[in-house]
């Protein structure tokens, strides 16, 4: 197996792992971490495509590399915004998960605040 295929498989496994964490974790903070894990796998897939596109004396196609650098910065910005939203949600409701309130009483209480 060539090294690009090996790293491609690794990227595929990371996407699967990240998506699993995103689907099953009850805590929002852990979902944000899982989402970043998933993103790392997607970026790595780009890296594999870039490495296979080696040509013109370059060991790796620069266009996917530039897109990934842009992606890494945007992913960080989105994570920072998600964390700020989570901390504000926690400050307002005392709960850091996204599930609906356990019974109607809590929802009614919140509307009166």
């Amino acid at each position: 197996m060539s090294s690009t295929t090996l790293f491609g498989m690794c990227a595929a496994a990371l996407v699967g792992l990240g998506l699993y964490g995103l689907l099953i974790h009850p805590q929002t903070l852990r979902r944000i971490v899982a989402f970043n894990l998933l993103g790392g796998g997607v970026f790595l897939m780009f890296g594999v495509v870039a490495r296979r596109g080696a040509a013109a004396g370059m060991a790796s196609d620069p266009v996917p590399q530039a897109l990934v650098i842009t992606g890494v910065v945007v992913a960080f910005s989105a994570t920072a915004l998600a964390i700020a939203l989570l901390l504000r949600l926690f400050a307002d409701s005392g709960d850091a998960s996204l599930r609906s309130p356990p019974h109607d009483g809590v929802a009614a209480d919140r509307t009166h605040v």
């Binding site: 090294s3 295929t5 790293f7 491609g8 690794c10 990227a11 595929a12 496994a13 990371l14 996407v15 699967g16 792992l17 990240g18 998506l19 699993y20 964490g21 689907l23 099953i24 009850p26 903070l29 852990r30 944000i32 971490v33 899982a34 970043n36 894990l37 790392g40 970026f43 790595l44 897939m45 870039a50 490495r51 296979r52 596109g53 013109a56 004396g57 370059m58 790796s60 196609d61 620069p62 266009v63 590399q65 897109l67 990934v68 650098i69 842009t70 910065v73 992913a75 960080f76 910005s77 989105a78 920072a80 964390i83 700020a84 901390l87 926690f90 005392g94 850091a96 998960s97 599930r99």
Partner: protein
């Protein structure tokens, strides 16, 4: 199997192990520690893929800065969640596992059946480099071929900061982010916050400056600068700035504004938005990189410290 192949397999096992730990760890703190290790290991994979620019971005932003952001959030949420954590049912988890395995299998199939010979834009990117006066093809793509992506990206980063700030309660608007850190005169943190920044600032500017010809660039360099600023703020040597400060706001928009201005001048001198007049391409690109470095470093640092949480008292 050669030694290089063996080491690559070891690296993949470590990356997947760190990734699995990030999902499986019981506490959020342990998971985030795993995530930071994952970022470091992933950057080694990027070096193996001959993408050193991406490796630098991954280790600085993906591992380092995201790690600080997540650890701070975990520390604030720890032990203060009032309701018990409810895990989904076993059936729910099994279905999720099956679906994710199917997705991984499909992606593996895609990797195995990638077209051969692989499509590439490397010759096109390489052909344009002499005209730009650059040696680093990635910088060439970021600032010439895909300059529109880069200019809009700097706006996205700024918009994310506006989003974070807009979560501030009204009474703290124009105030300062986070809590005031007291200097622990016996601690090791103030020591590092005095010793490291001179070296870090030099390294950050160096990364931006060599980015024209060698791996590096404004995002990687700006992240190092932001990290040094955060270190000084966390050690309590300098307070976080009030977000209403006029100089701060000018600093935030300065880089993107210069980028847009040079792009608009291109319409007159080179016939297209974001086109550079011949002979001046290198000078303009280095100008854009250095001004963006300042603005991006400020934005990244402020994204980590979060919305204002106290009034601007002097």
């Amino acid at each position: 199997m050669t030694l290089a192949q063996f080491l690559e397999i070891c690296l993949v096992v470590l990356v997947l192990g760190a990734g699995a730990w990030t999902i499986a760890a019981r506490s959020a703190h342990a998971a985030i520690t795993g995530f930071v290790s994952y970022g470091l290991l992933l950057s080694l994979v990027w070096v193996q893929l001959a993408a050193v620019d991406v490796a630098l971005a991954e280790v600085a932003i993906g591992g380092g800065l995201t790690g600080v952001l997540l650890l701070t959030a975990a520390a604030r949420l720890q032990g203060r969640e009032s309701q018990p954590i409810q895990w989904p049912s076993r059936l729910h988890r099994c279905v999720a596992a099956v679906l994710c395995t199917a997705l991984t299998a499909a992606l593996c199939a895609v990797v195995l059946w990638l077209p051969d010979p692989a499509p590439t834009l490397a010759p096109a990117a390489a052909g344009a480099l002499p005209a730009l006066g650059l040696g680093n093809a990635v910088t060439g793509v970021l600032l010439a071929h895909r300059a529109l992506d880069t200019v809009l990206e700097t706006v996205v980063v700024l918009l994310a900061l506006v989003g974070v700030w807009s979560l501030a309660p009204d009474r703290y608007w124009n105030g300062r982010p986070g809590q005031r850190q007291e200097v622990d005169s016996d601690g090791v943190l103030p020591f590092f916050a005095r010793v490291l920044p001179p070296i870090g600032v030099l390294l950050g500017i160096h990364l931006v400056f060599v980015g024209a010809n060698a791996p590096g660039g404004k995002f990687q360099g700006a992240t190092v600068l932001a990290a040094m600023w955060l270190l000084v703020m966390m050690a309590g040597l300098r307070d976080a700035p009030a977000i209403g400060s006029r100089w701060l706001r000018i600093g935030l928009v300065f880089g993107p504004a210069v980028f847009f201005a040079i792009g608009l001048i291109g319409i007159g001198t080179a016939g297209a938005f974001l086109a550079y007049p011949p002979d001046y391409a290198k000078v303009l690109i280095v100008t854009i990189e250095l001004t963006l470095m300042v603005s991006i470093a400020l934005t990244l640092g402020l994204l980590v410290v979060g919305p204002p949480e106290r009034p601007d008292t002097r």
